[in-house]
Every structure is written in C-alpha cells, then in structure tokens.
C-alpha cells in the first residue's frame, strides 16, 4: 500500500469534562473499504464528526492528515470541498423535492442563479445510473423507500466528486434486499477508486465488504484487523469490542424469584411507514415475579419498538401476538388498557415522551394515575401533594420542592420523576427503557437501587439497555435481540459481554 488517503493521529475530544475520544488513531488506505466497529457510545460517531468538521479544528486534540496534507476543517463545507462526504443515519433529503433537485441541493447546476434543468436532469441521470437506481430524476423523494433514498444520498455525494465516503450505519434501516444492493454498490465504487469508511454493528456485513476494520472501545482505538488475514474472525472482533472490565458499581441484591407474571408470545410488528419491514419478528419471552430481565440489543435492533408496541400499540402496525398476565391473555390495545392491566413503560426519551417539562414535579408524578387521587373527577390536591412529596423523599429527587418545574431538573432527577410516576401507577410489570441514559454515576447507582427494590416487592421488571455492563450487573436473565428477533436467552450465571455480543450481532441465516 502506498500513502494512506487519511491518517487521524491521537485524536482526543472532551465534552464538558467527559472524554469521548481518548487518543484514537485511524489510518485508511486509498481505495479500500474500511469498517469502524464498536459498541453504542464507543465514540465512532464522534470520531466521524471530528473528521467531517462538525466539531471544527481546535475543538479536539490530535492531527488529521488527508491526502498527505494536514487538514484543519472548520465546518462540513470545508471537508466536503476536499472530497470527504458523510452520510448520516438519518437521511437529510427534502421529501417534496425531486431526486435531481436533492442531488444538487446547495450545489445547483445554474447560470446566474437560474437553474439549468437540462443539465441538472442529465447529470442526475448519469449519477443514478452509477449508483444503480432506476428512477426518473424527476421523481419526488418521498415516493422512494429508505433504501432508494440512501442511494440518492450516495449519488449526491458522488456529484461532489467524493474521494472519501463515510457511511454511518447505512444498513440499519434497510431490509435485506436493499442492504445487499448497497453492499454491492460499495464494492462497485471501490473498483472505481472511491475510498469508503463504513460504521456498522453487523459483523456479517463487515466480513463481506471490509478490507480492514478498526475497533473502537470507550473512546480508544483498540486495533485494526486486516479482514483478508488469517485471524479475521467474528469472535476476534467481538472480543476486541467488549474487552472491558465492569467499572460501574451495583448495589447488592438477593433475588427472590417467584411465579411467572408476564408472558409475550409470537409478537410481530411492522414498520409504521415501510410496510415490508418487520421490525419485531416473532418475539416470545416471559418475566417472573421479583425477576429483573434484561434486553440487550444494538441500536436499531428493535428493543424500543418491541416495548412500545406492547404498551398500548404506541409503535408500528400489523401487530400480532399475545400478551399474558398470570397465564391469562390481557388487553393492551390502548395505553389505558395496558396501565389498567398493570403495565408501566418508562420511555428512553424522557424529554420528548416522558415528562411534561413545563409542569411541576407534582403533576408529573400523578399523571399516569390521577384517577387514584380523584373522586367524581375532582382531584384531591392535598393528597396529590403528599404523594408527590413522599416520592421526592423516597427517591431522593433533588429539587427545592415538588412545585419545581421538571424541565429545570437534572437528567437523573428527571428520570426519578418518571420512575415515580410509573411506580405510583401501581404496576405489576415495569418496562424501563434505557433507565440510566444521560445520567451521572451517582444517580445511576440510586436508580439501580430503585430497580432492585421494585423487584424485591415482587414486581416483574424488564430493563432495556445499550450498556452491557449495566445489564450484566442488574439482570437475573438477559434476552438478546438482533434485527427484531430474540436471538438468545442467557441466565445471569452464563452471561458475559462476549456471549451477549455474539447473539446481538447474529444476523439472519
């Protein structure tokens, strides 16, 4: 190999005191497909944002060399001018504009501010042929599926004379057929001399397409493996991804597990917009009284979709399957029915879905169980106050009082308000989706204590988490999900990060 197209040396990046990247180095050879692999939150996306200038020169430490020249990008425009194009997970196309208009958006084929439509459509057609998309350039983007939209994004990148194409989890939202097409296209572009970086969780994909893979863990680059070499196995990559000690502390707990309370059988859910995508595929699982069951899965595996489709059909369409409580089928068609049947779901996005941020602690705590506090539709506000106050004390919510506005609390305290709300609703089954996301260590420990206490009261607790150490520290049993299917069930004694990661990256056969 000759001079690498890209060298990133000893990159560090801090976010208000938290080190997200800690001396990452990456070398990408000209004309290769280079994969970047790592757990959720390992720092992959941050690294790509540094590279593309989203975090401009001067906000990070270390050196970037592109085409043997030191680069100091201050914005995406700078990096694109040099031929680096990043395609994000959330596609950034304007749905009501045509394919051709999108391809040349901000880069219009125009003379004196007047668009030259012939040139636009002609060049767009040529680009579409290159990415293998058989659509008219005049088609509006909203008529395309996600897979085809991704191809439009790539065509757009090609129109900018891309030298280094970065794809952030390009197949996460695609069905099998579209993924296959995309991988073929990447191989094709490689033949044409385009270098690409692909961020992916899917090991099968990486093995198929990548020439080399760099593994990032906890903000550090661990190693770069040559995928054409002899030791390029999936288990080698997995070991590299998870080889970490359990650093978080967990409060002690003695599980007392009773009868089965909750059972879901053969649960399938389709994507609300893309009807061909099965987001959850025949999932079956159960939880016993006093048991904490973890759900492990990488981003986009379908964990949240599974939970939200069960809790009052908040997600998806064409939902099928049965939910049992104490062996009897129960109605969970609406949120009220689910709550009435003893379910509670604390969302992963508490600011968007979990809290009334302009309301105070009291109204948030009582929100899911107002009927308990009311008589003839009139709220007993003194009792409501006492309830909120008791939760503030019990959960140690740090606020001047229960009349404090929740939007002004810290993440950990907001999460305690969400948990208070659901505990007050008196559930038998609690589904906690990423209960410690964006929360500092001290508050995490407290929330683990609350989860343990709920289990000790004989409730069935489901914890969905991206952090494997958290699941291993909390759970009595862990289900692994991959591409909408439950791919593994591991009891606590047999669980470790490698075993889970195997199941979590298991693709379809």
């Amino acid at each position: 190999m000759n001079v690498p197209i890209l060298r990133m040396l000893d990159i560090t990046k801090d976010f208000s005191g938290v080190r997200a990247l800690d001396g990452v180095s990456l070398e990408v050879a000209r004309g290769e497909v280079h994969a970047i692999c790592g757990e959720n939150g390992a720092g992959k996306s941050t690294l790509m944002k540094v590279l593309s200038g989203v975090y401009g020169h001067g906000t990070y430490g270390g050196v970037i060399e592109f085409e043997a020249e030191e680069a100091s990008f201050r914005s995406i425009n700078d990096s694109e001018a040099k031929g680096i194009v990043i395609i994000h997970q959330e596609l950034a196309l304007s749905p009501y504009l045509s394919i051709a208009e999108n391809i040349f958006l901000g880069n219009e084929r125009a003379r004196n501010g007047v668009v030259d439509w012939n040139k636009t459509n002609l060049e767009a057609s040529a680009l579409l042929a290159r990415v293998g998309l058989r659509e008219s350039p005049a088609t509006r983007v909203l008529e395309l599926g996600v897979g085809k939209q991704q191809l439009v994004e790539i065509a757009k990148a090609l129109s900018k004379r891309v030298k280094l194409l970065i794809l952030d989890e390009p197949t996460a939202a695609l069905n099998d057929e579209d993924s296959e097409h995309l991988l073929n296209l990447l191989e094709h572009l490689r033949e044409q001399g385009v270098t690409s970086i692909i961020i992916s969780h899917k090991l099968k994909e990486i093995r198929r397409i990548a020439d080399r893979v760099t593994i990032i863990r906890d903000g550090k680059s661990i190693e770069t493996i040559d995928m054409h070499g002899p030791d390029a196995t999936e288990s080698r990559i997995i070991r590299s991804m998870v080889g970490r000690e359990l650093t978080s502390m967990f409060p002690p707990r003695k599980p007392e597990i009773g009868e089965e309370i909750f059972r879901v059988e053969n649960w399938s859910v389709y994507h609300p917009v893309d009807h061909t995508r099965r987001v959850v595929d025949g999932a079956s699982f159960h939880v016993r009284a006093g048991e904490i069951v973890g759900f492990a899965g990488l981003m986009g595996a379908g964990r949240t979709e599974l939970a939200m489709s069960i809790f009052g059909r908040l997600y998806g369409r064409n939902i099928s399957g049965t939910v049992y409580k104490h062996g009897k089928p129960i109605d969970v068609h609406t949120v009220e029915a689910a709550i009435a049947n003893g379910l509670a779901y604390a969302t992963e996005d508490r600011k968007r879905y979990g809290l009334n941020l302009i309301g105070n602690i009291t109204v948030n705590v009582s929100a899911a169980a107002l009927s308990k506090l009311a008589r003839w539709g009139v709220i007993d506000r003194h009792r409501e106050y006492k309830v909120a106050e008791s939760y503030r004390e019990r959960m140690n919510i740090k606020a001047p009082g229960v009349d404090a506005i929740t939007g002004k609390l810290s993440g950990g305290n907001q999460q305690k308000v969400v948990l208070s709300k659901w505990i007050f609703s008196g559930p038998d089954i609690l589904i906690l989706d990423e209960p410690t996301r964006g929360i500092d260590v001290g508050a995490k420990y407290e929330i683990y204590g609350i989860i343990n206490e709920l289990a000790a009261q004989g409730k069935a607790v489901i914890v969905i988490s991206s952090e494997l150490p958290e699941l291993l520290g909390l759970s009595d049993r862990i289900y692994a999900i991959s591409e909408g299917r439950i791919t593994g069930e591991v009891p606590r004694e047999e669980a470790d990060q490698e075993v889970l990661m195997h199941y979590m990256t298991a693709g379809k056969d």
Binding site: G354, N356, G359, G401, G407, K408, G412, K421, A443
Partner: protein, 400 residues
C-alpha cells in the same frame, strides 16, 4: 450534575416564600394602570357608573368566549369559528322565538344545544379525523357564517321578548330597595362576595401552612386581600348607583368560578394542561387525548352558543353580521392574559383580565372619540407588546 449541588437535598424543606407570579400580577397592574390612565385622560368619565355598567354588558361576550378559548389554547389548538357560531346561534334563537313561537327559555336552551352540536361537529373532525383545528374552524367560520346568511335572508329579526333581552341588557330587580340612593341588593352581593373571597383566601393559606407549602409573605397577602375587597366593593358601589347588578355579571361570575375549578381541580382540567405541556407524554400516561380534544370543542361550542344568546339579547335582535371578529377579540384576550402560544400554559382569570384590558381600551378610546380605525391599530399593538413582554420574561428566566 452541577445544578444539583446548589439545591438543598432536604427531606424536610423549611417554609419558603413563593416567587411572586409576576405575569399574573403584572397583568393586573397593567389593567389598573390602563384604567387610571383613561380615568385621567377622560377627566373621570371612564369610571362613571353608567360606563362601568356598559363596560360589563358590552364585553360579556368576549369574556365568555375567552373562557372557552383559553381552554382550547391551553390544549394547543385554536378556534376561529366562534364569531360565526355566535351569529348563527343568535339567528336561530331569534327565529325560534319570533317565528316558531318558542318561549324565551326554550330558545336559550335551543341556542346552547345548537352550540354543543356545532362543537361536536368540529370536535369530531379535529379529534378523530385529526385535521388541525386551524383548518376545521376556519372552515367552520365560513360555513356557519354562510348558514347565518341563509337563515336571515328575510333581514334583521328584532322585537325579541323582554325576559330574553334582559339576559344581555337587564339587571337584578331591586328587591331590597335602596340605601343612600343605591341599590341595596347590589351592595349586599358585593359584601357577600368580598367575605367569601377573603374566607377562601384564608382557607387556602391555612392549608398551605398545614402542608408546609410555599406561600407569600403576610404583607403581600394582606395587600392582595385588601385590594380584592376594595375592588369588589368599589364595583358594587358604582353599579348600585346606576341600575344595579347586571344579570350577565352573575352569569360571568358563575362561569369564572366553575371553569377555574374545572381547570385547577378536576382530572379533565389536568389532562388539558398535560396535553398542552407534552402531548406524547400525556398519551403515554394513558390520557384519552382524542376524547379530551373532542370535549374541549364541544365546550367552546356551548360557550359560543351562550355568547350568541347574550350578544343577541344585548343587541335586541339578530343580524347576519353579528359576531364579526369576535374570535379575534377572544384570542387576543387569551394571549394578553398570559397563555402560551405553544399550549400548556394559561388561566381563566388571566383570559378574563385580558378581555377586560381590551374592553377598557375600547371604552376609553371611544369616550375620547378616537377614530375606530385607530382603535383597532392600538389594540393590535397592545396584543403584540403583551406577548413580546411574555416572551422577554421567559427568556430572562432561562426558559425556552
């Protein structure tokens, strides 16, 4: 997180002073200042008994509509159709009495029912078909205005029965005679209302004390109570010196009390605030958001019906052009009253005070014989400034 360290993690918080609600008091202060200003500019004519009486009777419709509108706006919607509904209900009640020979009370009930039906119609499209309220009520504005024109092809209907017009333009009979040449019933009502208010204030304060909740300092509490009593008694004194208590004032007082209770104390009211604050969170907490939306629009339909009855009664007849721009007056009152454009925030009393600010402006400018065109321009500026002040306040306090 760093913000935590500044807050005390107290299991038992010491009694604290509640931060004074600047917006609410600021609004009241603005009303007092505007009244004082016009009192000065008009050489004391603004607060002459007859004018105070007219202020109430002329603005009753805005206040009634503002009560319905603030609920709609808290929930994150808007209703542009209320003016047309006022006109249509006015037309139907007038026709019912003059052409169909219905007694006045049956016509009133019919008017309220018609309002409810209109509200259910619009609520259906908004809540269950999920068409934005802006569109549905814009359509309603045209639809009901059109129907009113159809109903009143024969022209204006006048000559309505006296008991009916009394709703908008009548007074309680002087059953207790006069004291010092003033209606004693009105004075008695003033005394009873003052006493009830003071008792209620004291009760609330005691409860707060018992629960160790934040409460305002004694001094400001005293000033507040004294101010309220003086205000009520001054109003009673002025009205007693004219024709006594307008019937519509009693209706308004009942509406204010009932709807304040509904919004503050009932599950339904709480659901409205929850939906305005975060619709997703409300839905995920099990609030039947569709039904709440539906009922909100049925409610404003009924209140629009009442406003239709009141304004027809006040005018003494039904005309096709009745209720023009009423929706804009009501919306302006609500926003001057401190409701948030994004929903989730607003109070009945705020909307009522907002409506009074508009009313005093109207009356003051009219007494000064300011041109109607300029009156409109001034009202527009006041609305803009009130909301700008609100947004400025929020930014300063670090909210969004």
């Amino acid at each position: 997180m760093s913000t935590d360290t500044t807050l005390k993690p107290t299991p038992k918080a010491p009694p604290r002073k509640s931060p004074i609600n600047l917006r609410q008091y600021g609004l009241l202060a603005a009303l007092v200042i505007i009244v004082a200003l016009f009192q000065f500019l008009t050489n004391g004519r603004l607060l002459m008994p007859g004018n105070v009486n007219n202020l109430i009777q002329q603005n009753a419709y805005v206040l009634i509509l503002a009560i319905g509108m603030v609920i709609v706006i808290i929930a994150g919607h808007i209703d542009l159709s209320v003016g047309s509904v006022v006109a249509m209900v006015g037309a139907v009640t007038a026709i019912a009495m003059n052409n169909w020979g219905l007694p006045w009370w049956a016509a009133v009930i019919l008017g309220l029912l018609l309002g409810a039906v209109v509200g259910a119609w619009q609520g259906f499209w908004i809540a269950f078909v999920e068409i934005p309220a802006f569109i549905v009520t814009l359509a309603g504005m045209l639809l009901f205005r059109g129907l009113t024109l159809v109903l009143l092809t024969g022209g204006t209907i006048s000559g309505l029965p006296a008991p009916f017009t009394a709703i908008g333009a009548g007074w309680l009979p002087p059953v207790f005679g006069e004291v010092a040449q003033r209606d004693s019933l009105t004075l008695l009502i003033g005394i009873v209302a003052s006493a009830a208010l003071v008792l209620q204030l004291i009760r609330t304060r005691k409860t707060l004390q018992r629960l160790d909740l934040p409460r305002e300092p004694v001094s400001s509490f005293g000033i507040k109570a004294a101010g309220a009593v003086i205000g009520i008694m001054a109003l009673a004194w002025l009205l007693a010196g004219y024709n006594g208590t307008p019937i519509i004032l009693i209706i308004l007082a009942v509406l204010i009390l009932v709807y304040t209770f509904v919004l503050n104390r009932t599950v339904f009211g709480r659901h409205i605030y929850a939906m305005g604050g975060n619709l997703f969170a409300a839905e995920m907490s099990g609030v039947k958001t569709k039904w709440v939306n539906f009922l909100i629009f049925v409610n404003i339909g009924v209140l629009s019906g009442l406003a239709g009855v009141v304004s027809t009664a006040r005018a003494g007849g039904a005309v096709a052009s009745a209720g023009q721009n009423y929706e804009l007056d009501a919306i302006a009152a609500v926003f001057i009253g401190g409701a948030a454009v994004q929903g989730g925030i607003g109070t009945i009393i705020g909307a009522v005070i907002g409506g009074l600010v508009m009313g005093v402006l109207n009356m003051g400018l009219s007494i000064l014989s300011v041109d109607a065109a300029w009156q409109m321009a001034i009202k527009g500026l006041v609305l803009l400034l009130a909301v700008a002040f609100d947004i400025f306040n929020k930014r300063r306090s670090g909210g969004r």
